[in-house]
Symmetry: C2
Subunit: 226 residues, 2 copies
């Protein structure tokens, strides 16, 4: 059935006891989107989803606003909200932005010997996930690595921007069939990057990061064309 995710949504209905209703709805939808149950361009009908989750249209709309803010859905006036679909330009722009944020984070780390524990922890997390062939988990670890990398800039707003970017990256990955292909090659890259930073070799780290991002971008673009 095409509407299989509706039942998946209903299963999330249990965990909605506390906090703001709209946030819980947003959580549920976010999970469905990231897990790939809700494909890009899918229209999110207020009526059906409201019924599935047992919330009113108003609350649902607030949730849509939250997801729109995270760029996971787009709202088209008088037409509804749709799961966001990223094109090649989006991916190129995402990586352009990532280069800016992550390179400047490394440069900041070069100035003030930052704390690299989070970074190494993310590497370890990735190693553990790969060891048990949990490729989705490896993907998350990868995200954590880059989140930790951006955190070296020591700026709340950089953190926030990076989280935003990574959420959009998940949107891209959600459409890919084989997570391993897109995450496993970068485990070693992360390890090397962390090592270079630990060694204080920031120039080399910057170069490595740029090659890393170039490669990832090219791979994603190629996969999107196919």
């Amino acid at each position: 059935m095409v509407d299989d995710w509706i039942s998946a949504l209903e299963s999330e209905r249990a965990s909605m006891g506390r906090a703001s209703a709209s946030e819980k709805v947003a959580d549920a939808l976010r999970t469905r989107i990231i897990e790939g149950d809700l494909r890009p361009r899918t229209r999110l009908s207020e009526e059906r989803i409201g019924a599935a989750l047992g919330v009113s249209r108003n609350t649902l709309r607030e949730a849509f606003h939250l997801l729109g803010h995270e760029r996971l859905v787009v709202r088209e006036f008088n037409r509804g909200v749709f799961v966001r679909a990223l094109d090649h330009d989006d991916v190129r722009d995402l990586y352009r932005f990532r280069r800016i944020l992550e390179v400047s984070s490394i440069r900041q780390a070069a100035l003030d010997g930052s704390d690299l524990t989070r970074l190494h922890a993310a590497v370890d997390e990735g190693g553990a996930a790969a060891a048990v062939e949990d490729w989705r988990g490896l993907g998350s670890a990868n995200m954590h690595f880059h989140e930790a990398l951006a955190a070296l800039a020591g700026s709340r707003r950089v953190d926030e921007a990076m989280r935003q970017v990574l959420a959009e990256m998940r949107l891209v990955f959600s459409t890919m069939s084989d997570p391993r292909t897109f995450h496993e090659p970068y485990l070693e890259g992360n390890r090397q990057l962390a090592a270079l930073l630990s060694a204080g070799n920031h120039d080399e780290a910057e170069r490595a990061l740029l090659t890393y991002l170039d490669r990832a971008e090219a791979q994603l673009l190629a996969a999107m064309s196919a």
Copy 2:
């Protein structure tokens, strides 16, 4: 009367004929906040503002979401929404972020000889505003200058991030009594920066920009302490 801005809001009620109601409400409130009529920490009562603008609570709430997304207001659960109040840390973080975005824009411009017309247009706009002593207009021109500067990065997401940052900057300026002090000194700085970029002297431009931002940050922080 303390509630003078209520009538100012009502005057905006006329211009609300087209487009989404919530966006219009957000526009009206945004103006009031930026103009300084709504001071930081002011609580935005759903009842009173809804009545003043003639919209329902639900629509008003959607508008609050939009403004929250722009970080002009903060929503506190079960307590209401308040005009955002920035502290010293916020200002420091804003400038940290601006350095990252604007420096990388200049570096990008160094790689691909970007189009500088918007930049020069913003300089001219500032000159014209200063000539007639329109200091608020000079402030806007200043924003446009840095928006144009960030645009050199050639990234939609950088543009968006910069707009976000500048909106927060307006929030700071809205609390300042004398706009001239905070905008006039930078007219010459903008002119020089544009000239350096036109001349292709990007290294010097980068240094000038950093001094520029350091000075602006220090001046704002000093003003906030007073």
